[in-house]
Amino acid sequence: MENFPSVSSQSQATLLSIFSQEYQKHIKRTHAKHHTSEAIESYYQRYLNGVGKNGAAPVLLELANEVDYAPSLMARIILERFLQEHEETPPSKSVINSMLRDPSQIPDGVLANQVYQCVVNDCCYGPLVDCIKHAIGHEHEVLLRDLLLEKNLSFLDEDQLRAKGYDKTPDFILQVPVAVEGHIIHWIESKASFGDECSHHAYLHDQFWSYWNRFGPGLVIYWYGFIQELDCNRDRGILLKACFPTDIVTLCHGVA
């Protein structure tokens, strides 16, 4: 923990989030290497050899670990390759996704087991992990919604905004802006992850600035903390917090 002074107050979840992000960066860096046709062919042959010897052995999982690639993604490579060989038309993405979600749809029983084993043993990728991530995000949105309701701040949520035809929608738009630590806030985005440089920049580009472009300044809550130096756009209208703010100033309706 001494190595992470800026996050020392954060919980284990923060560290897990950071780990997950780092692992994803690692996978992104090596992604191309595993997708050359030579690599795919060699993996597939090794898989075939492996299951030929013992179908019950964790062939695919061990292969993934050996070449340092996410098991779910390795399962996807082999599944694609397998379907290419066995089907007339190349498999569509949705078919592959569906099979990864429910391996019993895979025509080959051995492969189904191997894929299933990969999916349940993968801690960073795969449909189950995606679902967990999604659930965590949703849970924090619900949490945020409750906090807003508790503070009596009226808002429009994403679904309402989408119904109105907004093209980009933060989690919540405040119907009456508030000030947080002296900064005007029109919208709040909940991020159930650690705000590291890489993800924050991606979010800025894809989401936060787009929100600013439409709704003005706003607040991002990184529930698992963030790198303090990233909170540099406050004056430009993007405020970062690691929790729901306490210093909220609302518009007074009384006569001045």
């Binding site: 449909p127 849970e139 619900v142 109105k164 035809g165 980009k168 600035w209 472009n213």
Partner: protein
């Protein structure tokens, strides 16, 4: 011309008569016959007098050490090198320091004097030498004779026949050759290193401009721009160039003057200049020049200076000079002159007898300059008193002014104390985005999904570019085009559809208004200056101030009193964006949009006159009126500037056409192009409706960006002529009924004066149109009080529109700080306090007597009443439409939905062709739209009166209130009904269509389950474990079961039980649950069940029994069954229990245990979770899979066992299966 001045100086002609003579060509009855006689022969020269006077003063003052912004370093020994050149002192424009005074060998004394005379900033008839050196020869030809009467008045000299005046007018000489008189800021073309500021030459454009060099820029204030004084060999004639050739008498007279003068010079004693420094190098650093004290006792000739001051002031008062503020700047320069340039002793000394003539210099010392300046300032007190408080303070505290005219100082002090024209510091500008408005920005406003999404991206790219610009544009070396150009073009390239262009232009224009007009955007940027550190400091801290000034190496970016049009601050971004985008379509759409907005704002109903309101109420109202006016005016100016920029962009070039032929052909081409905006008509309308104060300022902005050809086009020439007439008519001293307010006039004078100095506006334009001036009479609607008569302009607005007026203050401040104003001085930012956005244009009723009555009703009411009523009507009308949408239309949509549902039930799931469905629905529902009008009327009737009542003062008389309410109701109803009757059918169609497609899309498993799913009981405190946590836990169990695992790894049965218990709690709470999570949990629970059945879950405990006992397994299965039955609200993929893969798990176990599976299947049927037949089907298909032989047998046995069990069909189950046949068989959707 000199003759006129001389006769004035001799008091043969009164100043008043002379000014009348100049301003009006016709003789007035007031004129003394003698005076008239003296002046009438000079008539042809009339229009040349003012330029002559201005040039004369510039020349005379040219020895005064420069004070103003363009202060050059003084070249050592320069003045010594130029003996006898009072007109060629160390003054020149910036940027030419090294070659200001090149040592010049003058060929002969005869050439000396004229060259000295040439030194001044010239206005007036130019010498013929500009035409490629034909100069002196030109003087010899043609008719002459204007000089005769002048000669007669001075000293009789008979010969010479009077020339024809028409000739004189038709062939005026041209001073516009910028080769010799280059404008300041341009690259010096010849050995003459300095750049004179522009002169005003009454030379017809059509005649000679084609040969003149381009004026590239002009930034210099006049006085410092004393031209090069590099004598041209060809030029031997001083100011007589304008005279028609053959004007011998004048020529001769000149010659004589010269001779006489040089005689005087030789006789003169030591000049009044106390610190002669001839030949000694002056320190080149600015800020080190100490001022010479000025003393009223040292003034050389009171009477003469008074007279010149009087005539000069009268010209100012009559608006005979092009730019009032330029002259004021000049005067303040004289006031703050530091010292006289040293000249040879003999040079200056006036001979006592020559004081009433032009022979001796007008300003012989600093004392003279100050005296003259103070004299003029006394005449200009009215204007001065309207300057901002800071300038007034500096003036009132000026010790010279106090010394020369304590009375004026007293008045200024009083004006300062009573002034409320405060200035405020600018706030740091920050960009604000244009907000997304669903009404205009959502999908319905785009032709296709693609266009919508493209625009979505474009909006983000636009702001990305904007942010990048904000970050980088001040960094040295950063280039807009290099940095952003390609990205902008790529973005513009995607705007294919016309509709997308209009969306983007709307965004662009809104952003432009928002950024460049907000307090932040207007302050610094509009003034065109970097934040002024000096203004933060007090003037008293002189030492610190100086040190600070010395540290500021870079000069401030002030453009002097006549800066060229620029795009300061954020405006630069928008200009560069347009340039980089270089998109024809974009420019066209932008022009359309700008024109529309300009028309809209220009026609906006602004405050109507308030009938004699003596109480404080009107003040409060006026504040608002002014603010609104300022917002509208500033918006208009900004929009017009950009319109001018884009409209003239294709024609803009650094130079006017090089030849007359080329120019003619361009003119022929251009004259057939219709103007981007009919500014002539708008100007005429504005003058008629007495709204010049609104129209002219933006028109000036528009014209300031015109190219060189524009002023020559007939259309625009008419515009300029009108503007010139207007300028002349704005006599500040005239007050009274029907006159424009003082500050309104001042604003117009300032902007017009500025316009006349723009490089692209021909120099001679101003003095040219004189002949027709009398004809100018605006056909105003007499009864109507226009904006012009209302005090809509205040100092804030004046300074915001004309930041260059602030140069006066800078000049004065630099005097205080004891240094040149070049490095700063006092400039504070003036920000408009007006930031409220423009309200929508109030609806106008044009028809019917009722409308007229309503207008009449408002006529005698305070304007706030009208605004209130219009506002209420506008809002209520708009709310009415929204209300109808939310009630009537929403009801119809609900009806449509139920009709559709019925139809779907009738026609089966597929429901037929959606288009047909929609048509039939619409034909049923649209007739109901007629109710909208009735309901709308009711709504307006109900809502409007209350709103009016709440907004009007309590004391409003009952009758007035009731009328106001009625009008509001009427207007609101009119607005709402007009919209509704035009759009209700389309609206219903659109909404129904959206509903139908929503419903058709949502077909399938989703809709039925939706209704009751959300929410737990109120008492719930949401303490159940989070869904993400449970998925994660179950995943761990699954991965343990799937392996690989260490031998000692496993889960305890208690943990499994606890896990399922938590799952139950969570499914009951549901607070944090979302459908995808629930679906995954359902699927995981089925997998868990399969593992239990196959006994594949490794259990912690003694190594011997790594398996669950039967009882535990059954208990867990029971828990799962009840979760499936009672808690899951998504379909549970139970058929997976019988998938080959999960059943295959059993194949691996030895001995195989089938009882749990059988138990589970029976329970499923029992609990109604799966149907008997469904299970049978699954089992049947299982047998088709390939299994080991013994396994197949066992499977068959199981099948038989299951079938053997008597199956009791439950009626509810059947019914349930019918209603929801898919339940339980639908795969989990993720």
């Amino acid at each position: 011309m000199a003759a006129v001045l001389e006769s004035l100086l001799r008091e043969e002609v009164s100043v008043a008569a002379a000014v009348r003579w100049i301003a009006r060509s016709a003789q007035s009855s007031e004129d003394d016959p003698g005076e008239a006689a003296a002046l009438s022969p000079l008539r042809p020269l009339r229009k040349e007098f003012v330029p002559f006077l201005l040039n004369f003063l510039r020349e005379q003052s040219s020895r005064v050490l420069p004070q103003g912004p363009p202060t050059p370093a003084k070249a050592p020994g320069s003045s010594a090198a130029l003996p006898g050149r009072p007109g060629g002192p160390p003054r020149g424009s910036r940027g030419a320091r090294s070659q200001l005074f090149p040592p010049t060998q003058l060929p002969s004394p005869a050439a000396e004097v004229p060259s000295a005379r040439r030194g001044g900033r010239r206005r007036g008839p130019g010498p013929a030498r500009e035409r490629g050196g034909r100069g002196p020869a030109g003087l010899e030809e043609g008719a002459g004779g204007e000089g005769l009467p002048w000669a007669a008045s001075r000293r009789p000299r008979g010969s010479g026949s009077p020339g024809s005046p028409s000739l004189a007018r038709s062939d005026p000489p041209n001073l516009s050759n910028l080769e010799e008189f280059p404008p300041v800021g341009s690259v010096p073309l010849g050995p003459a290193g300095t750049k004179p500021s522009r002169r005003i030459n009454p030379t017809p454009v059509s005649e000679e401009r084609s040969l003149s060099k381009p004026k590239t820029c002009f930034t210099s204030p006049p006085i410092n721009c004393v031209p090069s004084s590099q004598p041209s060999v060809l030029d031997t004639s001083p100011w007589g160039h304008g005279l028609p050739p053959g004007c011998r008498s004048l020529q001769e007279e000149r010659e004589m003057l010269r001779k006489e003068r040089s005689k005087q010079l030789q006789q003169s004693p030591t000049p009044a200049c106390p610190t002669p420094e001839s030949g000694s190098p002056l320190p080149s650093r600015i800020g080190n020049l100490t001022a010479e004290p000025a003393d009223p006792a040292g003034v050389s000739s009171h009477r003469r200076l008074e007279l010149v001051a009087l005539i000069y002031s009268s010209c100012l008062a009559e608006n005979l000079v092009p730019n009032l503020f330029l002259e004021l700047f000049f005067i303040l320069q004289l006031l703050t002159a530091r010292r006289m340039v040293a000249v040879k002793d003999s040079d200056l000394e006036p001979s006592p007898g020559a004081l009433d003539s032009l022979e001796s210099p007008l300003f012989q010392s600093v004392h003279d300059c100050v005296f003259f300046a103070v004299q003029v300032l006394e005449h200009q007190f009215q204007v001065l008193s309207c300057l901002d408080k800071g300038t007034l303070k500096l003036l009132a505290e000026n010790e010279r002014l106090l010394c020369f005219s304590p009375a004026l100082q007293g008045r200024l002090q009083a004006a300062y104390e009573s002034s409320v024209a405060k200035v405020s510091l600018a706030m740091p500008p920050s960009a604000q985005a244009v907000s997304f408005q669903p009404e205009t920005d959502n999908r319905a406003n785009f032709s296709s999904d693609r266009a919508f999404h493209t625009f979505k991206k474009q909006r983000d790219v636009f702001y990305e570019v904007l942010r990048e610009w904000e970050d980088h544009h001040e960094q040295p070396g950063w280039d807009f085009e290099k940095g952003l150009g390609s990205r902008i073009r790529a973005m513009m390239g995607q705007l294919s559809a016309a509709c997308s262009h209009s969306h983007f232009v709307r965004l662009f224009q809104k952003q432009l208004l928002q950024m460049c007009q907000s307090p932040g955007g207007a302050g610094g940027p509009v003034l065109g200056e970097a934040p002024d550190v000096l203004s933060m400091l007090g003037a008293d801290k002189l030492g610190r101030l100086r040190r600070l000034q010395e540290r500021l190496v870079a000069p401030q970016s002030s453009g002097g009193p006549c800066p060229p049009p620029t795009f300061p601050g954020c405006q630069g971004f928008f200009r560069d964006f347009i340039l980089s985008a270089s998109s024809f379509q974009f420019n066209q759409h932008l022009m359309d949009s700008l024109s529309l907005k300009i028309r809209e704002l220009n026609g906006l109903a602004l405050p109507q006159p308030e009938p004699s309101d003596e109480d404080g109420e009107s003040d409060v109202d006026w504040q608002g009126e002014r603010r609104q006016f300022a917002v509208v005016l500033l918006s208009l100016r900004l929009l017009a500037k950009f319109l001018g920029f884009v409209a003239f962009l294709p024609y803009r070039g650094p130079e006017p056409p090089p030849t007359r032929e080329l120019q003619d052909s361009i003119l022929a081409l251009r004259s057939q192009v219709p103007p981007a905006l009919d500014v002539l008509a708008l100007l005429q309308q504005g003058l008629r409706a007495r709204r010049a104060v609104l129209t002219v300022p933006w028109l000036v902005e528009f014209l300031s960006l015109a190219d060189h050809i524009v002023p020559m086009l007939d259309y625009y020439r008419s515009v300029f002529t009108l503007l010139l007439h207007l300028h002349r008519s704005l006599v500040l001293s005239k007050e009274g009924e029907g006159e424009m307010c003082f500050l309104n006039k001042l604003l117009l004078l300032a902007v017009l004066g500025w316009l006349f100095q723009i490089p692209t506006v021909p120099e001679d334009l101003f003095f040219l149109e004189e002949g027709q001036l009398e004809a100018f009479e605006v056909d105003t609607v007499a009864s109507e009080h226009g904006l012009d008569g209302m005090p809509v302009v205040d100092q804030h607005l004046l300074y915001t529109c004309c930041p260059y007026i602030g140069e006066l203050r800078k000049l004065l401040a630099s005097w205080v700080s004891g240094s040149s104003a070049r490095s700063g001085g006092f400039v504070r930012k003036i920000t408009p306090t007006t930031t409220t956005s423009l309200g929508a244009q109030p609806p106008r009723t044009t028809q019917g007597l009722q409308a007229q009555l309503a207008q009449a009703f408002f006529h005698n009411q305070p304007p706030s009443l009208r605004r209130t009523v219009e506002f209420v009507a506008e809002r209520i009308g708009s709310n009415c439409v929204k209300h109808i949408k939310a009630t009537l239309v929403a009801d119809l949509v609900r009806q449509a939905e139920s009709l559709l549902q019925e139809q779907l039930v009738m026609q089966g799931q597929e429901g037929g062709d959606p288009a047909q469905l929609l048509e039939s629905l619409c034909s049923q529902l649209c007739p109901h739209g007629a109710q909208a009008l009735t309901q709308g009327r009711e709504f307006c009737q109900k809502k409007s009166p209350g709103a009016v009542r709440a907004l009007l003062p309590e004391e409003t008389p009952a009758a007035v209130l009731s009328s106001a309410e009625h009008i509001a109701v009427g207007l609101a109803t009119e607005k709402a009904c007009a919209w509704l009757s035009a759009n209700i059918t389309a609206l219903i169609r659109r909404e129904v269509k959206a509903a139908v497609s929503r419903l058709l899309r949502a077909q399938g498993p989703e809709p039925a389950a939706r209704g009751e799913r959300r929410g737990c009981s109120r008492a719930c405190e949401h303490h159940a474990p989070l869904p993400s946590h449970l998925i994660s836990e179950i995943k761990d169990v699954l991965s343990l079961a799937a392996g690989p695992r260490d031998p000692e790894e496993g889960v305890s049965p208690e943990h499994l039980e606890q896990l399922l218990g938590q799952l139950g709690q969570m499914l009951q709470c549901r607070q944090f649950l979302c459908p995808p999570a629930e679906q995954h949990l359902a699927k995981c629970s089925v997998e868990l069940a399969s593992l239990l059945v196959a006994d594949q879950i490794p259990v912690l405990g003694p190594p011997a029994q790594h398996q669950l006992d039967r009882g535990q397994a059954r208990r867990l299965l029971h828990m799962l069954l009840s979760l499936w039955k009672d808690n899951f609200q998504v379909p549970v993929p139970l058929q997976l229990l019988l998938s080959p893969r999960n059943v295959g798990l059993l194949a691996d176990t030895r001995p195989r245990e089938w009882d749990l599976l059988l138990f589970l299947l029976r329970e499923l049927v029992e609990k109604g979770l799966m149907g008997q037949t469904e299970i049978e089907a699954c089992l049947g298909s299982l047998r088709e899979a390939q299994w080991p032989g013994d396994f197949s047998e066992e499977l068959a046995t199981l099948f038989n066992l299951f079938l053997a069990e008597p199956h009791v069909p439950e009626p509810q189950l059947r019914a349930c299966e019918l209603v929801q046949p898919n339940r339980g068989t639908v795969l989990a959707q993720s």
